[in-house]
């Protein structure tokens, strides 16, 4: 009788741990996806800074190739290099000085880096929990198979 009760208890514990493990794995996947998006955004912002530096250095009148989609370009001359049209969210953009634009981009990068660090810490904590639970699940599953 006690063996049957123990079996049921083991099975119940295994089921609960498996559920917890699945939930943790899903959370880890979600965090990884968010980190990937942040990384891509930081790269994009860093590329913007590179363009601003170039524009500031080579200035007005320089001919550049502007992408128009599908790998096609048109020639264009840089006009008014001292200002940049910058997105502020909500499908709106404003014209700001090149140095202000650079500062705002750098601030966004710093905010995103903080957020990334926070997510990485959470991911580390979840991975630690997964590594704690996984051997227990394996052991309980092994015991259940033996019975």
């Amino acid at each position: 009788m006690r063996t049957v009760a123990a079996k049921i208890q083991n099975h119940e514990k295994l089921r609960k741990l498996q559920d917890e493990l699945r939930s943790l794995i899903a959370q880890a996947d979600q965090l990884r996806a968010q980190i990937d998006i942040i990384n891509a955004t930081i790269q994009d912002l860093a590329a913007s800074i590179e363009v601003l530096e170039y524009i500031k250095k080579y200035g007005e009148g320089k001919t550049v190739l502007v992408p128009i989609g599908a790998g096609n370009f048109i020639r264009a001359k840089i006009e008014k290099p001292e200002t940049v049209i910058m997105g502020v969210g909500g499908r709106l953009s404003v014209e700001v000085g090149i140095d202000d634009a650079r500062k705002m981009i750098e601030e966004r990068i710093a905010t995103l880096e903080e957020l990334r660090l926070d997510l990485l810490r959470k991911l580390e904590e979840i991975n630690r929990k997964i590594n704690e639970i996984l051997p227990q699940v394996e052991e309980l599953a092994r015991q259940e198979q033996q019975k």
Binding site: V88, G90, R91, L92, S93, V94, V96
Partner: protein, 104 residues
């Protein structure tokens, strides 16, 4: 029993879709409020609004009006969705209780 399980699955799917829309709306509202804050701080004379792939020049007042309108629409929609979320959660809880399963 089987019909109840199918119904529960549908409700959970619907609940997740509502949750996703709520998250997207909250993010849109935060983005609009941030844009409003920037515009009010910087007070630029010209603002550009993206319409498809184009940027159209508009005045500051028009931009602020646009933000207010968009915020009103988004906040109304959010309220409706939050209400829908509460109702769905209650129905799901009831059905889970009836089926004797732990809350998802």
């Amino acid at each position: 029993m089987s019909a109840d399980i199918t119904k529960l699955q549908q409700l959970l799917y619907e609940y997740q879709a509502v949750r996703n829309e709520i998250v997207a709306l909250r993010s849109r509202i935060a983005e609009l409020r941030n844009a409003k804050r920037i515009l009010e701080e910087k007070k630029p004379r010209t603002v550009f609004r993206s319409i498809g792939p184009m940027l159209v020049e508009i005045g500051l007042e028009e931009a602020l009006r646009y933000i207010e309108d968009e915020l009103e629409i988004a906040e109304l929609r959010l309220k409706k969705l939050e209400e829908q979320e509460r109702k769905l959660a209650a129905t799901i809880k009831e059905l889970e209780k009836k089926l004797g399963i732990a809350p998802a």
